[in-house]
């Protein structure tokens, strides 16, 4: 495939095509499509997400219906291809349902962090001065704690439950995004094209919309995408500790916790939620690496 920026005289559309490059986002999309690792990670994530979303339709069993006679069935049991858990519930069904919960608990805090963090960071960076100091030093207080410790402390004081998990993880991610957004804003604000826009008589909003945000959102988006895998692991970790989603709901971290005692009886079944967490978070990491490379401006 020819590079999109190369003149394509052969097509016959010389007049319009020569030297008419595609827009920035189309170039990014094109680069992403050229990267096999990104394609693989993206496809896997798409599969996981689709399976999680469609779980009520495609899951073979009821996620909470167990069987006392068929506990910890090994992989490959007929009608339970991935075995059953310690209460005889179908593992495939629970993994599909658990994916919904884990993805929700993993993505939402990052999304909240992205939106709130960008707003606060851009505001702090743009206004500067004392406002900046107050916002940024407040964020530093949260940043001072290790992410896991902060999440556990907040979850612990709020009590278990999905909402509290989302709140505590959001508190972890907002300050991180604020820092990235603020430093990007300060850096872009000092560049000469912003001064040029001011010199041409532009007000604050057109500068924000056309000059500042397009240059700040890129790095913030890339940074946020790297945080998704961490968020998934933290969400699963909170559930594992009993601070997240409560039983009998299916969630990968919670499943790891309840199956942990069965590891000597049937080692393969307890490993499954771990494999699911690993594959999902690794895919998100690879995808964000691909995104970072694709969004780089190359001279």
């Amino acid at each position: 495939m020819a590079h999109p920026l190369a003149p394509s005289i052969a097509t016959g559309e010389v007049e319009t095509v020569v030297g008419a490059p595609m827009s920035y986002w189309r170039t990014v999309a094109w680069r992403l499509r050229q990267d096999p690792t990104t394609i693989a990670a993206g496809s896997l994530l798409l599969l996981i997400a689709l399976a999680a979303i469609l779980s009520p339709l495609i899951a073979p069993h009821d996620p909470s219906a167990g069987s006392i006679r068929l506990r910890l069935a090994p992989l490959g049991t007929s009608s339970h291809p991935l075995g059953t858990d310690e209460q005889g519930r179908d593992m495939l069904t629970r993994l599909l349902w658990g994916g919904r919960m884990t993805l929700l608990a993993g993505l939402t805090p990052v999304l909240v962090g992205f939106v709130l963090g960008t707003v606060m960071g851009v505001f702090a960076g743009f206004v500067g001065g004392l406002t900046n100091t107050i916002i940024m030093r407040t964020m530093d207080v949260f940043y001072a704690f290790p992410a896991v410790l902060l999440a556990i402390a907040i979850s612990g004081s709020l009590g278990p439950g999905l909402w509290n998990t989302l709140i505590s993880l959001s508190v972890v991610f907002v300050p991180r995004v604020v820092r990235v957004a603020e430093s990007a804003t300060v850096q872009v604000k000092s560049l000469e094209f912003v001064a040029a826009a001011r010199a041409s008589g532009s007000g604050v909003w057109p500068i924000m919309r056309h000059h500042l945000l397009p240059n700040v959102l890129g790095p913030v988006l890339v940074f946020s995408s790297t945080q998704v895998s961490l968020s998934i692991i933290l969400a699963a970790g909170l559930s594992f500790l009993g601070l997240g989603v409560t039983p009998p709901a299916a969630e990968w971290g919670l499943m790891l916790n309840t199956l942990r005692g069965s590891i000597y009886v049937n080692a393969w079944v307890p490993a499954l939620p771990g494999v699911a967490i690993f594959l999902t978070s690794m895919s998100f990491n690879l995808l964000s690496d691909g995104l970072r490379d694709a969004m780089e401006i190359r001279g």
Binding site: L5, V18, G19, A20, P21, S23, Y24, G129, L130, T133, R137, L191, E192, F193, A195, A196, A197, R198, A199, S200, G201, S202, G203, P206, H210, H211, P214, N215, G218, I297, R298, G299
Partner: protein
Amino acid sequence: MSAPLLEVRGLRKHFPIRSGLLLRTHAWVRAVDDVSFSVAPEETLGVVGESGCGKSTLARLILRLLEPDAGDVTFLGEDLRSAGRARLKRLRRDMQLVFQDPHASLNPRMTIEDAVAFSLVVHGTGRREARAQAWRVLERVGLDPRLYGRRYPHELSGGQRQRVNIARALVLDPKLLVLDEPVSGLDKSVQAQVLNLLQDLKAERALTCVFISHDLNVIEYVSGRVLVMYLGQVVETGTVDALAESPKHPYTQALFASAPTMDPSRRLERPPITGDPPNPVNPPSGCRFRTRCAHAMPRCAEAVPPPIMLAPDHAVACYLYQ
């Protein structure tokens, strides 16, 4: 001389150096200190000085991109400092800035045509019309808009980017163009092309220019009058011929003597001044050049020498001529 297009009186800007949690100010950078000059219509005033002498700050003060601490800027007979927001926006159509760094001065996420058309859109021109005008200006500065209009800055060379910068400044059809080191980042051959383009545009559009540069050759080529700055202060002003033939201030003499020349008879054995200019945070008292001046006298340390008129158009701030 006709009424000046731009008049600057006693302009001053000191930047605080803040640090610590409470952002306490513990020193001031005296970037521009009591600078006065005027520019007649269609004249080109060259501003020359070493790096760090406040040239770029001066450019931003003229356009009120920075608020001066003291002094007045009168443009087209109007006081810029007291101009309200709407009035200032209108006045900004008539005065534009061309920046030094061809990399930082263009938005990497904006196509060339959008970058040029942006100022017009800001002033209420419709998008189609703005684009049409942007295309015309791009064509004029030597960039085929059909070829380059949709490109992004990183796809262009330094010279091409500087042409875009010039197009962006010209699209509003300004009367005054402030050029802040417009060719310093470019190769010599490209410099010549851009300078020639600027000269053509100046004649064609009856532009008044303030041309800031550290390069004397460039200043001599473009300017009618020259203003020499040292550490935020004006040390000498005069026509380019007067300054080149008989510079009066010891700093101007040193500056012209250190410019590289092709004429062997004018070459010097040793550089006329050495060392770096003193730190503008704590500039020397009195005449700021006295620490590097061969003629320094005790009184130079006492007070800043006032400008002394040697000819109607030649002023020097040095006690040697009093």
